[in-house]
């Protein structure tokens, strides 16, 4: 390196000659353009802009120039360094983009590979069906009432106008518990929840009670000693059968589809009078050419449940004044509703717990 030009003599500094600087620039730009990848460019950067690069060395020589020459040389070197750095940056960007693109191509995976590590869970379709039904009624303003499955005989029968010698008692094949004098049964219906509700709430009462019930039926494709019912109870002033019909029509259309209505047939239940069987319009054939319909077996209608106007005797036993209030009640099999809604002919998969059954329904139906 040349020493300081203290005497202000014009000193010949070769690297600062214009043609030399131009050469440096050309060499640098050529090397940048030739750099094929980011590693090569890195080397080019060191070679042409690093501490020991010709341009850096030339820059340091500027100080050796007499003051009047420094400006000119400084400008020349500065512009050159600027141009080189710009070219480097541009090339860097190009190479980075290329690199990234190549990386993405190289990182391609087979997204069709299986991804299932953990088991899928699921809730029981009867639970889901019960919740769906409860939600339909909650949306109307009802509340969900509950009661025990091991129940007092009085609540399961007597309070519901099924006295000890009522022939209808033997229609419901009851599981009795020991000792018999304790008068405790497995509830044969969700109706004792009705009685409990009236005994613990004041009208107006609008409740549904989904739950498990028991009958001494041998277990087969269409019978189970345990099954599920949903019961509805309304007690209010001026309640009529028309309200019952309206409610069940709404329920049917919500559960089975728009336009699905119900049909009443006279029937008999001790706790309601008048009583009716409810049929729901077949949601598959809608009673249009039902002959070939498998869902309703050619009937056009499907037996759905029972209902009626709450017998005033029941109101009295449960502390509701029948001269002020009237009510309606209805009950449907949840399992049955599920079976025809989902085309299940044999109920046993509901209670056998094969995980393939319930998991196929996931967490909502």
């Amino acid at each position: 390196m040349s020493g300081p030009n203290t005497d202000y003599d014009p000193v010949e500094v070769t690297p600062l000659k214009a043609e030399q600087v131009d050469e440096m620039r050309e060499a640098a730009l050529a090397a940048i353009a030739a750099a094929a990848d980011l590693d090569a460019l890195k080397q080019v950067r060191i070679d042409h802009t690093g501490d020991r690069s010709p341009l850096a060395l030339a820059n340091r020589e500027i100080g050796a120039l007499p003051p009047q020459a420094r400006k000119d040389a400084g400008q020349r070197i500065g512009q050159t360094r600027g141009a080189v750095n710009q070219a480097l940056a541009a090339r860097q960007a190009v190479l980075e983009a290329e690199h990234e693109e190549r990386m993405l191509v190289e990182e391609t995976v087979d997204v069709s590979l299986p991804t299932t590590r953990a088991r899928r869970g699921g809730r029981h379709p009867i639970t889901l069906q019960s919740e769906l039904i409860a939600d339909l009624f909650v949306a109307m303003g009802y509340e969900v009432a509950e009661g025990p499955v091991v129940e007092a005989e009085w609540l399961n029968f007597d309070a519901l106008n099924l006295g000890p010698d009522h022939p209808a008692r033997s229609m419901q094949d009851t599981f009795w518990t020991e000792p018999a004098e304790n008068h405790v049964v497995l509830r044969t219906q969700t109706s004792p929840v009705q009685a409990r509700t009236m005994l613990t709430r004041k009208p107006p009462i609008y409740v549904v009670c989904p739950g498990r019930v028991f009958r001494t039926d041998e277990y087969d494709a269409t019978h189970s000693p345990m099954f599920h019912q949903v019961e509805g109870l309304v007690v209010d002033e001026g309640i009529t059968m028309a309200h019952l019909k309206g409610t069940l029509d709404h329920f049917a259309s919500q559960l089975f589809g728009d336009g699905i209505t119900t049909r009443f047939r006279p029937s008999y239940f001790p706790f309601t009078e008048p009583s009716a069987e409810v049929d729901v319009l077949c949601f598959v054939c809608r009673n249009v050419e039902p002959a070939s319909c498998r869902t309703c077996r050619g009937e056009g209608w499907i037996e759905w449940g029972g209902c009626g106007v709450v017998n005033p005797r029941v109101l009295t036993a449960c502390g509701v004044d029948p001269s002020v209030y009237s009510g309606f009640a209805f009950g449907m099999g949840i399992d049955r509703s599920f079976m025809f809604r989902h085309n299940l002919e044999d109920l046993r998969p509901l209670f056998e717990g094969d995980v393939r059954f319930a998991s196929s329904f996931g967490t909502e139906i």
Partner: protein, 828 residues
């Protein structure tokens, strides 16, 4: 009730062209529900015709039988007009007889296809039929010989044999006992089918007036037996056959033909609804006395069963003792037989409740009992007895005795007052008082008054006791199909209760964690509890027993959900579902041994105390969650190896459930069946034990057919849900930098990690943000009986950046406390 259509229409007219379908539709809509329409010939297809036997050649066979080679004139039914050659094994006919002949191409009940086939050396082209072959009964002694005027050869034989008779099967509700008779059904046709007319009541006859010459009868219990009618037929021919139309009708109605005398009583019961009993009059000794049974009395009933009688049973006696269980079943000693020539006919009205109790007590279900316990018209005893006598005389050649015994009078029907607008108010339809009166009169009520109607129901309707019963009669005749559809307007509801919401959340959490919900029956036997390895004094062995379990193997209500889920898991493994995680949410039954649940009165509301006592008498029924997992929790794949289920999955599942409702679960070691004694966690929340989780004992896995290392948990959801966090305060986060410190501590292998962590937590003080155990090491480097626990600690201040050394100091304090409490030594 199975009712032959022709029998119904014998008693009521319907407009010409009324189809069976229309008739049954209308009856269904007014309350007699159609079950099925059947006809005995429904399974017979193809040519079944009248044939006239032209020739018959008996041909003895090597097997000892003799067959008849017959030629039968079947008119043009065989297409040729030539006589048909048929082999027949029966001998009860002769040339010239008309017989039921099925020709090749016909199909008889049971899918029996008839063809021309070579048999006994002849080509037999068809078959001459017996009753049994046509599905008309059990008679197979010979073929059917038709009356000489049955028709011409080649005519269809179905109408002659009643094979095309339609029988309608109705489902009869308990309140419509009157419809357990042709009389009742015909009356329903009258009120249900538009244009029906001219009801002809089979009991509308004039029986001879009662006199003192009949069989002496004393009724000691007029409440139990308000009416007793006795008639007598003598000179009866016990061999007389029952006319075909009676056999056909009672068979169609589902009863078995037995003998003329029995068939006639059944026929009249079906026709009128009034059960009738016939005694062999020569075996009845002295006066008949009706009374309640006495302690220790016994009776052998017609079915051959010797029964110990109850003092509440109504019995019929004579000088010899008890001869019948009144209204339910007769006794053996006076049974009619094939030598009976004198018949004593009893038509009595019995107290329905007594009938029901006696039937239940002796487990007797009979057609008579079914009617008597539901209530029969008490006014028709004389007419029904008279009808029986008439038929016995007509078909059995006997003579009706002049003596007619009638004891008692039919009880009066109640008088009911009902508001004239009640039907309108109950139904929500516009039903005028006039319409209501019209409907009530149509079903047989006497009605007077206006505004408030005074109604006397007809004697065949004992079910009509309340004003509300009368409204049903009105509304069903107006038509349930006319009830309008109106939605009521409930007050604003409060939605699901919190407990209901949380239960759903718990189910969803478990499903999200890979568990599948199952529903099992709550019945268990002691074997189930033995399989769980429960010790003899385990409280879970205190079970509520069912009096009438479906299976003697499982007579109890379960106290734990585990047997159900473990059996279900075993079944799944058996089905090849080896990687398994299931759960069940349900109640268990824990007896309280608190005495009886009272039968309270029903004419008033029970007091709050009475109601509370009722509840207290029931067993506790807490809601439980049980779960089981086996196999792999995560499967092997291209990502790496499988992760098998371990004890910790069971604990974690419960922690996950608890976290979903804002709770934290503490696990501590426990030893409880059915779990592995070294791998069982007692789970608690806020110091309350809520359940257990862990790996199952190997013998339990074996007992339930589960793979080794299957894990399970059972917790009380009521306890969890009670403690669920409701309103959680929003958390505040520090955004200052975190300082991380790791420590490895060596402790005795017996020291619970939870204790070490608790000491570290407490020692670290307020700056500790979180602590996580990231490694557990046992082996040479820490020495026998020791383990190394490595914790990652994170420190952070809420309001500033921690100063150099602050985190390290807190860490050292944490370690110091852990050392003091658990003997932990920091690993170098």
């Amino acid at each position: 009730m199975k009712a032959p259509l022709s029998w119904i229409l014998e008693h009521v007219d319907v407009p010409a062209g009324t189809t069976t379908e229309h008739l049954t539709d209308r009856l269904t809509l007014t309350g007699l529900k159609l079950e099925a329409v059947v006809s005995p010939g429904r399974d017979i297809t193809g040519p079944l015709v009248i044939g006239r036997v032209l020739t018959m050649e008996p041909e003895p066979q090597k097997n000892g039988k003799t067959i008849n080679w017959c030629t039968v004139d079947v008119g043009d039914a065989n297409g040729t007009g030539e006589p048909q050659g048929i082999v027949c094994g029966a001998h009860n006919f002769e040339p010239g007889d008309l017989v039921a002949t099925v020709l090749p191409g016909g199909v008889l009940p049971g899918g029996f296809e008839i063809g021309a086939r070579k048999t006994y050396g002849h080509m037999s082209a068809g078959m001459i039929c017996s009753s049994r072959e046509l599905g008309l009964g059990d008679d197979h002694d010979g073929i059917i010989v038709l009356p000489a005027d049955a028709g011409e050869p080649g005519d269809d034989v179905r109408p002659v044999l009643g094979l095309d008779e339609e029988t309608i099967e109705f489902e009869i509700n308990p309140d419509r006992a009157y419809a357990l008779s042709i009389r009742g059904i015909a009356r329903e046709v009258l009120v249900s089918v538009e244009g029906a007319s001219d009801f002809r009541d089979p009991t509308d006859r004039t029986p001879p007036a009662p006199n003192d010459e009949g069989h002496p009868v004393v009724v000691e219990d007029a409440e139990g037996c308000p009416v007793f009618v006795a008639r007598r037929v003598t000179g009866f021919d016990p061999t007389a056959a029952t006319p075909d139309h009676i056999v056909q009708r009672i068979t169609a109605a589902g009863m078995r033909p037995i003998s003329l005398a029995v068939d006639v009583t059944n026929y009249v019961m079906l026709e009128t609804g009034r059960p009738i009993h016939g005694y062999d009059a020569d075996k009845v000794q002295g006066a008949i006395v009706v009374r309640r049974a006495r302690d220790g009395e016994r009776l052998t009933t017609l079915d051959g069963t010797d029964r110990a009688l109850d003092p509440a049973d109504l019995v019929v006696t004579d000088d010899s003792g008890i001869i019948g269980l009144g209204g339910v079943m007769g006794g053996e000693t006076t049974e009619m037989s094939d030598t009976t020539t004198s018949i004593l006919v009893e038509a009595a009205h019995w107290d329905a409740v007594s009938m029901y109790r006696t039937g239940r007590r002796h487990k007797i279900t009979s057609e008579a009992g079914k009617r008597n316990e539901r209530g029969v018209d008490p006014t028709i005893c004389e007419a029904a007895a008279d009808r029986v006598v008439e038929l016995l005389v007509e078909h059995g050649g006997g003579t009706a005795d002049a003596g007619v015994t009638v004891v008692g009078t039919p009880p009066a029907m109640p008088v009911i007052e009902v508001a004239g607008d009640l039907a309108a108010r109950v139904s929500g339809m516009e039903i005028s008082e006039e319409r209501s009166i019209e409907c009530l009169r149509a079903v047989g009520c006497e009605v007077s008054g206006s505004g408030t109607l005074t109604v006397t129901p007809p004697p065949w309707r004992p079910d009509l006791t309340d004003p509300q019963d009368l409204t049903e009669e009105v509304i069903r005749l107006v038509g349930y199909d006319h009830v309008p559809s109106v939605l009521p307007t409930p007050p604003s509801g409060r939605g699901l209760t919190r407990s209901q919401q949380l239960r759903r959340r718990i189910g969803r959490t478990l499903a999200g964690d890979g568990f599948v919900e199952v529903v099992t029956f709550p019945f268990v036997g002691t074997t189930d509890l033995d399989d769980l390895g429960l010790p003899a004094d385990d409280p879970r062995r205190d079970l509520l027993r069912l009096s009438n379990p479906l299976s003697a193997e499982a007579p109890f209500m379960t106290t734990t959900l585990l047997p159900g889920v473990l059996r279900t898991a075993g079944r799944n493994v058996g089905h090849g579902n080896a990687d398994l995680a299931i759960f069940e949410i349900g109640t268990v039954t824990l007896p309280r041994h608190s005495g009886p649940a009272a039968i309270l009165p029903v004419d008033r509301r029970p007091s709050d105390d009475e109601f509370a006592a009722l509840d207290a008498a029931l067993p506790a029924q807490p809601l439980r969650l049980a779960l089981v997992a086996a196999g792999d929790a995560a499967s092997a794949g291209w990502w790496g190896p499988a992760r098998p289920v371990t004890w910790s999955d069971a604990v974690e599942a419960i922690r996950s459930v608890a976290a979903a409702i804002g709770l934290e679960v503490k696990a501590s070691s426990a030893d409880l069946a059915p779990w592995h004694p070294g791998r069982c966690a007692e789970l608690s929340v806020d110091g309350q034990v809520v359940g257990h989780a862990g790996e199952l004992h190997p013998t339990v896995c074996q007992a339930f057919g589960l793979p080794k290392r299957t894990v399970a948990a059972e917790v009380d959801l009521d306890l969890l849900i009670e403690r669920a966090v409701h309103l959680r305060p929003a958390p505040a986060f520090s955004s200052y930098p975190v300082a991380k410190e790791d420590v490895a501590l060596v402790v005795d292998a017996s020291v619970p990690a939870a204790d070490v962590e608790a000491a570290l937590r407490e020692g670290a003080g307020e700056l500790l943000e979180s602590i996580r155990l990231f490694d557990v090491y046992t082996g040479d480097q820490v020495g026998e009986g020791k383990k190394s626990l490595a914790y990652a600690l994170r420190f952070r201040a809420p309001d500033r950046t921690l100063k150099e050394g602050e985190a390290a100091a807190a860490r050292d304090a944490a370690v110091a406390l852990a050392t003091e409490r658990t003997g932990a030594v920091q690993r170098a």
